[in-house]
Symmetry: C2
Subunit: 463 residues, 2 copies
């Protein structure tokens, strides 16, 4: 299969970044094609039907204040939002006991939790000195990039409880253990999202708002606009750069383009064949940005029975393996849905069990939090993103030590005709849906400003 | 292109591991084919001609006591060895001054160096508790895998000089910075090679012995035995596993095999397409084992002029960017060759210079050590292994924190019909030529013991 003509830009990956890039390029009057390996669009967002036209989201799902690009796009696309369910009391499992509370996690309820709170405040202050668009330029970049979050905790937190609390934050935000992640990466990421509170909170934070019909609708709506410019079931294998153009090869298709945007996570982008080969810095970067590990589990019940007990469905627990839960029911609360996350080492350990055992373990955690009724859902859905051939880990990629300072500039520097997008390349809300959209628009802007690909008024609405 | 018949085993990669695997499989009477992307065999070993039939080795080159498999193979193949040049005095640059010494690095010449020596002894003792075939089972595995070598040094070494000394060891052995590498990985690797001294010493250690005609001759000799069973210029793109066989696909060739051995570094192995997709643990492991960064530089002079000054050509220097040098002349000392390593962050920084600038910087280091005559070599050769499309970093892969404990068993566990070889998978002399050979033979033994691929006496010498 060949297009038989040269498009202005070939975009690889029909996740939010790739679709937003294509949409922005069309706004500049450029002709695009989006090439996707899967049989669907949406990348790391994915709706899963649970009957009666209802869905659960088994990928990224939330938006929140400050995420202006995704919120604007949702409005432009005519989608609606609704608040994450937060009524009633949340549960916090601390020293083996369940505590009920309202509002923020009661981190000042004990001296040890106070220590965790002070630790998070300190990380927030440090993060302000780490520019998200150039973490390597922070005054203490080298020192902070030589260690893991784990060793920072060991040196700066005296109590196990405080370490457990920050470990929970690390798992919840990066789907990685504190021993996986460079301290500098944690700080850059916090800076990009505005700090600890905006990232971990529901009300007023990144988990505040949901999309009616599910977050994948953002991708579906953009893809609908693009029509047959989106090619599904077309895994790209190779990008060839010629003198005046580039050729994108899949098993059967060949697409000629003036420019290419690769909108994939760095690890998967590194698995394409590039001819000529990429510069060493870019190649070695892609060897050093692994994806996190998460299994998103959803138990579906006839009703959200925990609400009747005065519970919000939100749990934060130290022992696990389920350490974070949410009420993830549709807007009308019918059916009731509990969302349970397995993250970092917990996801890796549980992935080695059979599906049946894993389900039993997850439900037993939910029973510990919400009572015996939680053990008999009418449906149970899970998604191990590490096992997904076209994702290979969520929520996204992180930097282990000595990566930002040694390879940082290679993350976004174009390689000839190839530009890089994806949530990992965002400098605002890095790793989030909002960041993914911004990254696609940034890559599109890079191309739109290049003289050789002139804006051609009139093309946008026709082609 | 198709073989038109099914071989017993397809081996991917004609480095030492792949060739040793093929050789061992033929010894079991099995029919093999070795498929190599490059136009040559030898992988990370490579001879470079410098005229008059002489060569320099721009890849791995040394063998030493305890490396019994490579030494036996050298003898079997009829190759000869000669000692690395160590006559005269070595140089040690310490606090900006060059000190001459004989024998071991004079680590006890000052209190700070004594601290480095004690630190290395301590690492040696810790390494004894880390089984190289299962580092995750060490009693303190989790603790040691949560931190980088850098933070261990910061906590345990008080002086800058001691940290510099161990940093030099880290760069010299892993071509990585102490901030790159998990402490547990360093310990496992030390255990696999018998400890610090056997790894860093020349006389009595892993740099003791060279191969007449260059180390690539080991691979060339094995390839000669295999004849047309080695396919060059054939990059493998995909491995397909069927019910009763596997198919290895390159751009033009298709090879049917009962079993496959992938003898590539983990990062590059992870870039092949696997159908069906690999298990999550294996896939995420390959996202987490980056290759080191090294540029090997060779300056060729009419004579080894430093010998007349009573110098061995060996330098250990704190300031760099060249921190380690050797006399790398042919056995007859004609011409004189100085070998200079750029390793870890030094390699990455110097790779960003022009070739001309880099040469000038390297030669100015050599002039600091050996005098002005070093600035005018008759030839200068360098190899940046990170820029090599089919290697993407040397000396080999290392584990950042939280990789051995989270993913270790996936390093060697076969995935269906696919077995894993390569120096990184060795449990003795991991990362060395000796380890590469052992790994190939281990993978071959895994296959030879499987009933479905019976030994067929008489096949070995015919085919």
């Amino acid at each position: 299969m060949s297009f038989g003509h040269t498009v202005d830009v070939a975009v690889i990956g029909a996740g939010l970044a790739g679709l937003a890039a294509a949409r922005a390029l069309r706004g500049h009057g450029l002709e695009v094609v989006v090439i996707e390996a899967r049989d669907r669009v949406g990348g790391r967002t994915l709706n899963h039907p649970i009957g009666d036209g209802k869905i659960v989201e088994i990928g990224g799902q939330w938006v929140g204040p400050g995420q202006d690009r995704v919120l604007a796009l949702i409005a432009e696309l005519g989608l609606e939002t609704f608040p994450t369910y937060t009524e009633g009391q949340h549960l916090f499992e601390h020293r083996g006991r369940l505590h009920r509370y309202r509002g923020r996690i009661p981190l000042i309820a004990s001296p040890a939790l106070l220590e965790a709170w002070i630790g998070l405040q300190r990380l927030d202050r440090m993060a302000r000195a780490v520019p998200a668009d150039a973490p390597w330029s922070a005054p203490r970049a080298h020192t902070w990039d030589t260690e893991t979050v784990e060793t920072w905790m060991r040196r700066n937190l005296r109590t196990t409880v405080a370490r457990q609390a920050i470990t929970m934050v690390c798992k919840a935000v990066w789907a990685a253990d504190p021993a996986d992640v460079s301290l500098l990466h944690l700080l850059a990421y916090l800076n990009a999202g505005g700090g600890v509170d905006p990232m971990i909170e529901t009300e007023g934070g990144a988990q505040q708002t949901r999309i009616v019909g599910g977050s994948q609708r953002i991708a579906l709506a953009m893809a609908a606009e693009l029509g047959d410019r989106v090619l599904l079931n077309t895994p790209v294998r190779k990008i060839e750069q010629l003198n005046a153009s580039a050729v994108v090869h899949s098993d059967e298709a060949r697409i000629d383009a003036r420019r290419v945007i690769v909108a994939m996570s760095p690890a998967l982008a590194g698995r394409l064949v590039y001819s000529p080969a990429l510069p060493a810095d870019r190649d070695q970067l892609t060897q050093r940005m692994p994806n996190g590990s998460v299994i998103k589990c959803m138990a579906v019940y006839d009703t959200p029975f925990w609400r009747a007990d005065g519970l919000s469905g939100q749990v934060t627990a130290a022992t696990g393996p389920v350490k974070v839960t949410f009420d993830n029911s549709p807007p009308d609360g019918d059916p009731g849905v509990l969302l349970a996350f397995l993250e970092g080492g917990d996801a890796r350990a549980l992935a080695r069990h059979t599906a049946e055992d894993r389900r039993a373990i997850v439900l037993s955690c939910l029973a510990r939090f919400f009572g015996a009724a939680a053990t008999t859902p009418r449906d149970y859905v899970e998604k191990d993103w590490s096992a997904d051939e076209w994702t290979r880990g969520c929520y996204g990629a992180f930097m282990p030590p000595n990566t930002w300072t040694e390879y940082g500039p290679a993350l976004r520097s174009p390689a000839g005709r190839i530009h890089w997008a994806g949530a990992e390349t965002a400098t605002t809300w890095m790793g989030y849906m909002d960041g993914a959209i911004r990254s696609g628009e940034r890559a599109a802007a890079e191309i739109a400003t290049i003289a050789e690909v002139p804006a051609r008024p009139g093309t946008a609405g026709t082609g």
